[in-house]
Symmetry: none
Subunit: 155 residues, 2 copies
DNA sequence: CCATAAAATCCCATGCTATCCCAATTTAGA
DNA sequence: TCTAAATTGGGATAGCATGGGATTTTATGG
């Protein structure tokens, strides 16, 4: 199973190409389609991304459990498929970000790849910095981290 | 399962490399990825660390319901997965601490590896000494339950 | 159906950085 | 004290990100 960790900032060249971090590529190397799937995030000025096999998995999960999602979430999830783009790697492990997708995240001359475990996101570097600082503050204030460790890892 | 005990202080060279204590490495030698995962602690000027297996486990457990819409998961992901770094061992069992990570712990010319059972921490030696003294004082004052709770959680 | 232009893809070259490899030194154990 | 293991240091190497050109594919108009 793929695991995406850490944050990388890479440059976008004139052609709109960006290197996907090598460790992210390594996490996807067992897949048939050598590339990623991206779509615009609903909650953030950012892009959601993962491998194609996970997209298939998401489709299956929606088929079987659509009643578990609320109507709104169902609509959101369904529109993911319409918005999603398959971006293949070139020989050097780069993808080419389509203009409209890049615009949604405000990405211009560099892109920030953010690991989220099973998935990752792509942000404009400055925007993500702000978001991360705020998120970190929220986690510090609430006792979220304790619940997390205790329930899952604290054996 | 890996068990990290005792405290070791090792030097950081000009390239930012530190030897991970051999007993800590031994505790991880059954894992595929020969190295560790580190991220900045929320509560302390220190780094949390453990093997990649444990991080994969954490990712899986958070990922069970494809939760693209949870605010809490969002913050956790941004704080833990985005912040985490995979640091592989070199031939001599060293890791290279990235500058920003090292800065959070105030680590400059030497690093203190502190065993915490299933996980361990990395501190600046002086900072840890102070922290340990303060913790001891709290125990003497009778604030034992808090100290115990914190240690159990791995913060 | 063909010709041309535009765009996306592929291919190779470069600089930088992280990693590897080997040697020296220190520490721990017998 | 002697020996083996662990830590420390530095030069060499390989991998990655990046840039630019060449080639193929796709769209457009005749």
């Amino acid at each position: 199973m793929s695991l995406f960790l850490s944050t990388y900032v890479n440059k976008v060249d004139k052609k709109g190409r960006v290197s996907v971090p090598s460790l992210f590529r390594a996490a996807l190397e067992t897949q048939k389609f050598q590339g990623i799937v991206v779509f615009r995030s609903y909650k953030h000025p950012a892009l959601e991304a993962f491998g194609l096999d996970r997209m298939a998995q998401l489709s299956q999960s929606l088929d079987k459990n659509f009643n578990l999602f609320s109507d709104t979430q169902d609509d959101l999830a369904a529109s993911i498929f319409a918005d999603a783009q398959q971006l293949g790697f070139d020989g050097e492990g780069r993808i080419t970000l389509p203009d409209d997708i890049a615009a949604h995240a405000g990405i211009t001359e560099s892109a920030c790849f953010v690991g989220r475990g099973a998935t990752f996101q792509i942000w404009a570097p400055d925007t993500f910095k702000q978001h991360q600082t705020a998120a970190r503050a929220r986690v510090q204030q609430g006792n979220v981290s304790i619940a997390l460790h205790a329930s899952e890892v604290g054996q």
